[in-house]
Every structure is written in C-alpha cells, then in structure tokens.
C-alpha cells in the first residue's frame, strides 16, 4: 500500500510542518527524506492540509521542499520471540547491532529490524486445524531462554477465526508463516511468529483485572518490610538528584522476585546506562542460574538522544511488558525517569505553542501520567493463567520539591510511595527512603501490626529528636532518650543497608523476617540505664554487633554466634517486656 505523500514547508527545531495530499492520521509515522536517508517522525498535529511532525532525529540539513512519506501506521513495536536480552532505543532500534553497522556514533536514519530474522525457533504447536481462536490465544510455543514463549494470535486480529492450517513441530524464523487463519467471511490470513502493536494503545487481551495483593519482594528491607510493592501494582520513587534513585532501581532490577524485568532508561546518563548494559550479561540470575540479561530487556535512551524518542520510550517499554504479561508471566517495568519523560512532553508542547499549564507542563500532563501507570495490573487471561505488569517509576522533581506537578500527578495514581530525602542521602543513609514520609497501600511480608509497632519507635524517636533540638539533651527524660536510641537503632541496622556489601546489599524475605523478629524483641524490651552516656554507649555497642551480624552469611557459624551475642547483650540489660508489646510479639 502506498501511503500519503507530503512536502516540508517549515522547520523549527525538531518539528517539521508538512503539506500533505491525501489522508493522514494522528500519531501516524512519517519519514522525512534527507538525501538517501529517511528520518522517522510522528504526526502530532493536523490543521487543514498541514501536518506537524515531531522528528525522532536531529533535523539539521532538512530544507523546505523536501519530500515526506507517510507510513499509514501508528508508532508501533514488533513483538515476538527474541525480545529478551535486547538493548533497544526508544524506537526499538537494537543498539548493539546498530553499533556494528554504524560504528561508535548514533547515525541518523539507520533503522534495523528489532528482532533477528535469521534465528530459527523450535516451534511446538498447541492449537490444531479446525480450532476456533481469538486474538492472544496461543497457537504454539517456542523456548526463549528460561521461558516458554507463547506464539499468539496477533492482538490486532479482532473477531473469531478458524485455524485452516498450522505448522508441525520444527524450526522456523519469525518471517515464516506458521499458521493460516480463516475469518468469518472465509478470508485466509497468514500469521507469523511476530507482529506489530501500536505503543500508545494498551494491550487489552484479558478477561479480568485483579486487585494487586501478592507482595513483590525487592530484597530491600525498608521496602519489603515497611513500604511493600505488590505484583501488578505501581510505585514511585521521587527524590532530588543524588539521593540514590538509580542505585535503588539497579538493585531492584537484579533482585526483584519477578520473571522479566524491563528497564526503560528515559533520558538517562550514558555513564550509568553503560554500567547496566555491560554488567547485566555478567550477572547471574539468582533464580535460574543463567545470565540476568536473559530475562531483561533494556530500553535505553540517553539524555542526548532526541526528545521525541525519549517521549516514546516509556510506551515502547510498557508495550513489551504487556506482551510478556500475555504469556502469564510477571513483568516488572522500571522507568527512570518519568520526569524526563514529562519534560520531553513539555518540550514538545512548547514547540507546538500550546498554552502552558503549571510550571509550563502541558495541561494533559496528569491524564497522560495516569494512563501510563494504569497500564500496570494483574490480569486473568482467556486460558485462566495469571500475568502481571508492575510499574515502578522514578521521579526527579525540580529541586527535590515534591509539590511539583509531575510528583503530584504520580502520587495520585500509584499504590506505594518511596520518597527519598536529601537529608538522609547527605548523611549517607542508603536507601535514602524517608521512613516517615513514605507510604504503601499494599500488603508486605510481615504482619502489619508488627511493622506498625516497630515503625512507632521510628516516629516517636524522631519526635524526641525534634524535642531535643528545642529543650536540649539535658531537658529530655531518660525514658524518652531510650526511645530515641531505639528509633536510631532501627534506622541504622534495619532501614539502612550496605549496598556495597555482598550479604547486606540484598536480603531474602526469610532473613528479613528473622532479623525483624530479633529487632522487635529488642524494641519491646525495657532497659534501665544510670545516665544517658551509659545508654548511648550500650546502644553503640549493640549497633556494632548488629552491623557485623548484617554482614554475616545467612545461617553461617558467624551468623549464629553473633545472634547469640546480641541476644545475651540484650537479656543482660533487659528488665522485662513492654506490656503493650506482648500481643504484637505473640
């Protein structure tokens, strides 16, 4: 099919105005011809016979009169076997392959196949001739790394079909026809193992969407115990630059208890992205023993890549996440950072000369953020299996101020909030998630009342600390002072983790429960000290033992002996248990 054609009439930054002849649709992809290159663009406004296109590349060299071809398709990704382990840019260009073709630099107008057309996949049919199928029904499977990749009826085939033919078990590439479907009118539609889906449309091939209830373990104590995330849920991590958002994301991407992780680096620093790119293949997935990269897809847009490509990248990422969800898998999408995505929106809106909203963001900022996060969810598929997409987005608010529009719009739609604080990161507390500002609406791995009891010490400890700033340490009672020290103890031995330490960097749920129980016992114990100096130094010694304990291998000899030391230190000093805590401890 030959699409509509047009001619460039104006160039302003990365926006090109094109006079067209024929029909053009909103969000349609067009190509601006520049010599022998074609620059990918998206239609973002149509007025009369002029369409405005956001070019996904640098526009240098374009002149008035250059020709434009419209593709007839919306911006779409190709899905099929071979997505796992790939590193793409926001337009699904495979970056390592691009490097092989174009060298060190990102040359304009070079677009490669997102999926290899040479690889043969071992196909096993599931459906048979005569079966009635609908979109997203499984036709067969191929093994992809540790997963069984479902070859499904393309999601854009609405209606019911009868299978007219299907290939037997064997090796096929994604370009080979593996089945022929007959529609109600008797037309035959050949299907291959891959197809395209427009990124800005959620994949909706499921029967029912559930409330997220099952915890998604991240191995970060502060998150799993205190501010948990649920599978199929959403959470956000806002914080000023330098507060540790990226490190937290990296740790989560490695240890989260999930099948597939999709990382969307949206306007990210290349120096940090490269770390992920090079390290992931070297790391072993704790679950499968294979390379971590085999269950990962990276969508990588460094901050210097064109703004429109950055804007597209979160959609590319979430579409791939939804695709694997359709196979009954649990997928985690980590978007870093949604603020830069919002900034890209702002930049494009300014270029369109739209009336700016708050802080010059477009008026549709909130609804766009909301509909992005709404693409998360746990769903039941037509065959009864359950799949989920969890979305965790970092937010980089200007000046670390959570009142700004992107943070506020995000907070309205997420289920958990991990707010990072400048004070905590300045004091080198990792993770710098603020234990008093953060919240979660999800259920965690430890009973809520136990967590609440422990959290109370943090809260009261902080109150005492504030009070001490007014009345001084000498004006504080020893009872209050001990509460403050207990709060400080949870903070330093439980909330904080040593991200450089092999053992302490990621803590299993079993270990979390185990040490939480010990800590809870300490919090509930009553201690009497002759004076505050004595109290401080006793807690210092206890903290020291606990830190060593945190660094010792789970259930090793050292672990057991340090635990004994802690317990005897505590029982030697304890004068009994807090009455109110007995119920909680039981």
């Amino acid at each position: 099919m030959i699409g509509t054609k047009g001619t460039v009439v104006a160039v302003n930054g990365n926006m090109v105005s094109v006079r067209f002849d024929g029909a053009v649709s909103m969000n349609e992809v067009g190509f601006v011809k520049l010599g022998d290159k074609k620059l990918k663009s998206e239609v973002i406004r149509i007025r009369g016979d002029i369409s405005q296109l956001q070019v996904f590349e640098v526009t240098k060299g374009i002149s008035v009169g250059d020709s434009v071809e419209y593709s007839g398709d919306m911006l779409a990704v190709e899905v099929g076997p071979g997505l796992l382990g790939q590193v793409y840019d926001g337009l699904q260009n495979p970056l390592p392959k691009l490097a092989a073709v174009a060298g060190n630099f990102l040359e304009r107008g070079v677009y490669l196949d997102p999926l290899s057309v040479d690889i043969s996949w071992a196909f096993t049919p599931v459906a048979k001739v005569g079966d009635t199928v609908e979109r997203a029904d499984t036709l067969g499977t191929v093994p992809e790394g540790a997963f069984t990749h479902r070859i499904m009826v393309p999601f854009n085939l609405y209606g019911t079909y009868t299978i007219a033919s299907i290939k037997g078990a064997g090796s096929y590439t994604i370009r080979d026809t593996i089945a022929e479907l007959k529609d109600e009118k008797g037309n035959t539609i050949p299907v291959t193992m891959s197809f395209r889906w427009p990124v800005k449309r959620p994949i909706d091939c499921f029967v029912e969407r559930y409330k997220p209830t099952e915890p998604m373990v991240t191995r970060v104590r502060l998150i799993d115990t205190f501010f948990p995330v649920a599978r199929g849920g959403t959470y956000c991590i806002p914080g000023p630059f330098g507060a540790g958002k990226t490190v937290l994301q990296q740790i989560t991407s490695r240890y989260a208890d999930i099948d597939i992780v999709i990382l969307a680096a949206c306007g990210e620093r290349a120096g940090e992205v490269v770390e992920t790119l090079k390290e992931f293949p070297e790391l072993t997935d704790p679950k499968t023993g294979k390379s971590l990269m085999e269950r990962t897809i990276i969508i990588c847009n460094t901050s210097s890549m064109p703004v429109a490509s950055r804007e597209a990248s979160v959609y590319t990422a979430v579409t791939l996440a939804e695709y694997y969800r359709q196979m009954g898998l649990n997928v985690l999408l980590l978007a870093d950072s949604t603020s830069r995505w919002a900034q890209a929106m702002r930049e494009m809106s300014g270029r369109l000369e739209e009336i700016p909203g708050e802080e010059a963001f477009p008026a549709y900022l909130e609804s766009t953020i909301a509909s992005f996060y709404e693409r998360a969810g746990t769903v039941r598929l037509r065959d009864g299996s359950i799949g989920s997409v969890t979305i965790g987005g970092t937010v980089s608010p200007a000046g670390g101020n959570f009142e700004e529009p992107v943070t506020q719009a995000t907070l309205k739609v997420v289920g958990a909030f991990h707010g990072l604080s400048r004070e905590r990161s300045d004091a080198r507390k990792f993770p710098a998630i603020h234990p008093l500002d953060s919240w979660s609406k999800y259920k965690g791995i430890i009973a809520a009342e136990k967590v609440g009891y422990a959290h109370g010490f943090m809260r009261r400890g902080s109150e005492v600390e504030q009070m001490m700033k007014v009345v001084g340490e000498e004006g504080t009672s020893i009872e209050d002072y001990v509460i403050y020290l207990k709060g400080d103890l949870i903070d330093s031995v439980y909330f904080q983790q040593n991200s450089f330490d092999a053992v302490d960097a990621a803590v299993s749920p079993d270990r979390q429960k185990h040490i939480f129980a010990i800590l809870l016992h300490i919090l509930a114990s009553q201690f009497t000290f002759p004076d505050k100096n004595e109290a401080r130094s006793w807690f210092n010694r206890l903290r020291q033992k606990f830190l060593d304990f945190n660094g010792s291998e789970w259930q090793s000899e050292r672990f057991v002996s340090l635990q004994k030391e802690i317990e005897s230190t505590v029982s030697a000093q304890s004068t009994g248990l807090d009455k109110a805590a007995e119920k909680v401890l039981a």
């Binding site: 002149s63 008035v64 390290e279 001084g472």
Partner: protein, 432 residues
C-alpha cells in the same frame, strides 16, 4: 551555488530573516555589514522565509546588507596545530596566530551509541582529599562545579586541570571576564600546560550568539583528539552563561518560554553537550568538568537543577571548600572498590559523623549544654575541616585515608564510628 541575497526582511535582536529557497536547516551564511563580515546560522525555516542567527549580533545590520549562504553547517578546523592556540566563538583566532582552515570538521555531531561505551574504570587523581577520597573523579565523567558567584571556582578548575593526568586540555570559556580568561592562560602557561591546551573563549563583551558555539566547538575538537587515542579533559566555564545566552536568543525569537524564561529544551540542549563525555572502547576519552554558577545559591534554579539530572554528580563549592553534602561522584563506586579495602567504608563513615557534627553545631548555636558525645563531635568536625576539607591540602589518596583513621582515632572509640570490626582491626591506628 553561493547565492547572495541582498534584501533582509526583518531584524530582531541578533536574528535576521531573508527570503531564500533551497536552504537547509542549520546551514551557515555570511552577512556583510559596514562593520565587517559575520557568520550566521539558519535556525528556522517557514516557507521561503529563512531566519538566521547572526554571530556578531544584530547591532548595525542594515536591511540593505548582503547575506551569502555557504551551503554547509558550522565547522571547526582540526589539527595538531590547534595546541596552544586561542579561538573565539566563531572560530577566529584570539591570539595573534594564523587562522586555521585545514581539515574542517562539523560541530554538534551525534552522540555515542551507549552499546559501544565501556564502563568507566579509571580514577583521575587530583591530590584533593575531598575529591579523591570522598567523591573520586573518574575518566569519562561529566561533572559540574556548582558554585555561587565569588567562589574560587575557576581557581579550582585550573588546579584540577594542572594536576589531572590527561593528554589534552580543552578550555571552553563562556561569558568569561577578560581577567578570568587571562588567569587561565597565565596559570596554564606557568604550569607548563599551555602547549597541551586548546582554548575557545567567549568573553562577556563578545556577541551573545558566539557564546552558544563554545561548547560544541570545544567538544568537537575534544572528540577528534579522543578518537586519536588521547585522554582529553574539557573544562567549560560557565555553563549558566551558556544557558542564559540560549534564553536571550529564544525569547528574542518569540519561543514559548518554559521555566523562568528558559527555553523548553534546556534539558536536551545541556544534555547533548554533557553526553559527549565518553571513554571509547578502542580509543581515548573525554572527561568534562563544567562550572555552573547558581544565581542566589539556589540549586533549584533551572540551570543547576537540569544539570544535576544530566551529569554524573557534582562538586558543591561553598565558602571556599567542597561541601561534603550535595557533592557527589556517581561513578566513584566504579573505582573506589579497587583502591584500598577501607576506602568505601571510611568515605561513608566519616561523612556520617560529619553530618552528626553539623547537628551538634546547630545545637551549640542554640545554646544547649554540650554532652561528652557532642564534645567529641565538635573536635572531630574541627579536625575534619582543617585537615581534609581545606582546598590547599594536596596529598595522595593513600595518605588521605591514613589521615582519616588518625582523625577518627583522635576523637572516638572504635565502636562510636559505626565501622565494621574487621576494618577497625586492620586500620585503627595503634597507639601506646
């Protein structure tokens, strides 16, 4: 086909408009005026109207002046002959040397494919403990120095330049005071570094548009040296002036302003420059140190704020010292695991205690009685500031680590430091 156009339709600030056809976005033109010839760059096309940014500014341009399109974008001549030379924002010599025209290369080229990058892995030693120990500078890093006007940021930049082990230094000066330009030139000359330095300097009195060219020219030249296998250090001062020049021009062009009048693409514009920092797999590297002055010491101002999200950390310069809070080298963990076993723990431990010292200082200022613990912290903070933070301290990393343990043991008992027992056993100074 260098067609000459002699009718200028409009002149607004430094932007002129002519009617012309077949002109490409980003092309260069020469504008002949009674004051001489200036370069101009196409920055908007609308039908047959071509808007150009005149490098020398709009002052004195007449509607009868001629515009000649060169049919190519901005370039800079690249060769070994650049060493020791100084150029302006339009590429003309500032020293009395000859103009260079051989081997022209385009500026503002595409960024490096992240898949072809290597993980930053080499530390750049500076001899400054606040950098080497606490926020190690890494080859290929992009770091701004956040600073208030009046702080010795150019001195710090020059000092790092002199002491850093690199092959080539490129200095990009934007809106530099003439005195500062001379300071850099003299300092590098005295230190014997001028012969490995190329300077692109826009001074405060030069036309605003030329300011915009400085980073791109500096980085294009840096990239060529890096591709030849050289380790290049690019110093950019001051990036806030660069952003302000962008603001000035975008407002003149009636673009819809974003935050505080800056153009909506401020982030992208800054990013495309900073992202030029790279360590090539099979060639050299580019490390970028920039100065970002913060109007009113306000880190939420759009320029430092956007910069912070692009760069791999920042050094905060305050009261003549690099502040431990707010200063950050994101890439430090790539290198400080290989330096010495105590590096990471000491780095965090000492800052935690320094943070407690600051709290105590606050308490003291409010007139509270100091406890024994407070007294220890006060002693610690004082020693830390004198022996570690002072920018005149110049010692190798290993000496700085030893000094750290010494300070700790002068003030605290081992378990008060929050450091692991095994490290204490190994490094705690033995005293009789």
């Amino acid at each position: 086909m260098n067609k000459v156009y002699s009718k200028i339709e409009s002149i607004t600030g430094s932007v002129i408009t002519v009617k012309a056809e077949g002109i490409r976005y980003g092309d260069l033109a020469e504008v002949d005026t009674v004051f001489g010839t200036s370069l101009a760059e196409v920055n908007r096309l609308a039908g047959d109207l071509v808007s150009l940014q005149v490098f020398a500014g709009g002052r004195g341009i007449s509607t009868g002046d001629t515009v000649r399109f060169l049919g190519r974008p901005m370039q800079v001549a690249f060769s070994e002959n650049l060493m020791g030379r100084v150029f302006s924002g339009s590429g003309t010599p500032r020293d009395n040397g000859p103009a260079l025209t051989d081997n022209p290369i385009p500026i503002g080229g595409p960024s490096v494919n992240p898949a072809n990058r290597i993980i930053p892995r080499n530390m750049i030693r500076t001899g400054i403990p606040m950098i080497d120990l606490f926020n190690t500078l890494v080859v290929s890093q992009k770091l701004p120095i956040f600073s208030v006007s009046g702080e010795p940021y150019n001195d710090l930049l020059a000092r790092i330049a002199m002491q850093a082990e690199v092959d080539v230094i490129i200095l990009g000066g934007m809106g530099l005071k003439y005195d500062d330009y001379l300071f850099f030139k003299d300092t590098l000359e005295e230190g014997g570094a001028l012969s490995r330095t190329v300077m692109f300097v826009h001074t405060a009195s030069d036309p605003t548009v030329e300011c915009l060219m400085i980073p791109d020219m500096s980085l294009a030249v840096a990239e060529q040296f890096a591709l030849q296998g050289k380790d290049v250090l690019v110093l950019l001062t001051d990036m806030t002036n660069f952003a302000d020049a962008m603001k000035e021009i975008s407002i003149i062009q009636e673009q819809v302003p974003s935050n505080r009048g800056y153009p909506g693409d401020l982030y992208s514009q800054l990013a495309s420059r900073y992202e030029k920092a790279v360590d090539f797999e099979s060639a050299g590297s580019i490390t970028i140190l920039g100065v970002t002055t913060m109007p009113g010491d306000d880190v939420t101002h759009p320029v430092p704020d956007n910069t912070g999200y692009i760069t791999e950390g920042q050094y905060y310069l305050k009261n003549g010292r690099i502040e431990p809070f707010g200063s950050l080298s994101r890439l430090k963990q790539q290198v400080n695991g290989k330096t010495r076993a105590d590096h990471r723990a000491l780095m965090d431990g000492m800052i935690k205690l320094y943070s407690a010292f600051r709290d105590t200082l606050e308490k003291k200022a409010m007139g509270f009685i100091m406890t024994a613990w407070d007294d220890k912290l006060l002693k610690y903070g004082d020693l830390f500031e004198k022996k570690m933070m002072d920018l005149t301290v110049n010692i190798p990393l290993e000496k700085a680590l030893d000094l750290g343990w010494e300070i700790l043991s002068d003030c605290f008992s081992p378990e008060e430091t929050g450091l692991r027992t095994e490290l204490i056993n190994q490094f705690w100074p033995k005293k009789d």
